[in-house]
Amino acid sequence: MSVTILIPTALRSFVDRKSEVEAEGPTVGEALANLTAQYPDLKRQIYENDTALRGFVNVFVDGTNIKKLNGLDTPLAAGATVMIVPAIAGGC
């Protein structure tokens, strides 16, 4: 099952400057695993360890944050659009 993963500008240098990449997988977690298998340098940027995403990394499936769905176990329909989105914070 193929889905489209949209890549934010900050991470494009790890995916050959592409703004979107096709990946295979029946769930978000498996599609991201397939993505990082294609682009291994991306893995340490978005994963805290082998299984958990970094705190600032959010993933949306067709506009809905997977935190409101089933997390990395969220199922994907063929043709779904997956977005990797960083939350941004700071202060003095």
Partner: protein, 141 residues
């Protein structure tokens, strides 16, 4: 190098003054050319931190970022960075800024002292995440 117009610089300074004593924040849309970023427009964002923390913290939620990413793509632009103010603090990144930043993006910091916008600086986080480096910027008429 970060390039922006005088109009955009004025918008950032005004946002800092308007938000004082709290921090303002927003997203910069533009284009990249090698290591250079050119800012074309701003998307002011409502600081999502709880009101009692906004004097020294800002948050752009993942939902705001998701909408901004889609808007940038529709416009044929990219998110090239972010701006925020430091009320009554120097225009330098804090440890908190570093812990929550990403390489690639340009980070503009505006010092606002007693409500008046003062020094504006821009920074890039190293790939190693160890430190920010100052980023020169050019204001075009």
């Amino acid at each position: 190098m970060l390039k922006l117009s005088r109009r955009i610089e004025t918008e950032i300074r005004q946002a800092g003054a308007d938000a004082y004593p709290n921090e303002c924040c927003g997203i910069m849309f533009g284009s990249e050319d090698g290591d250079d970023h050119a800012v074309k427009s701003l998307r002011p964002i409502v600081n999502a931190r709880e009101s009692g923390e906004q004097y020294h913290r800002f948050l752009i939620t993942a939902e705001d970022m998701m909408r901004a990413e889609l808007e940038a793509r529709r416009l044929g632009l990219e998110i090239v960075g972010f701006y925020h103010s430091h009320p009554d603090h120097p225009a330098k990144p804090s440890d908190y800024d570093r812990d929550h930043a990403l390489p690639f993006y340009s980070y503009i910091i505006l010092r606002v002292a007693e409500g008046r916008p003062e020094l504006m600086t821009s920074w890039r986080l190293r790939i190693s995440r160890e430190a920010f480096d100052p980023e020169p910027f050019e204001i075009e008429p």
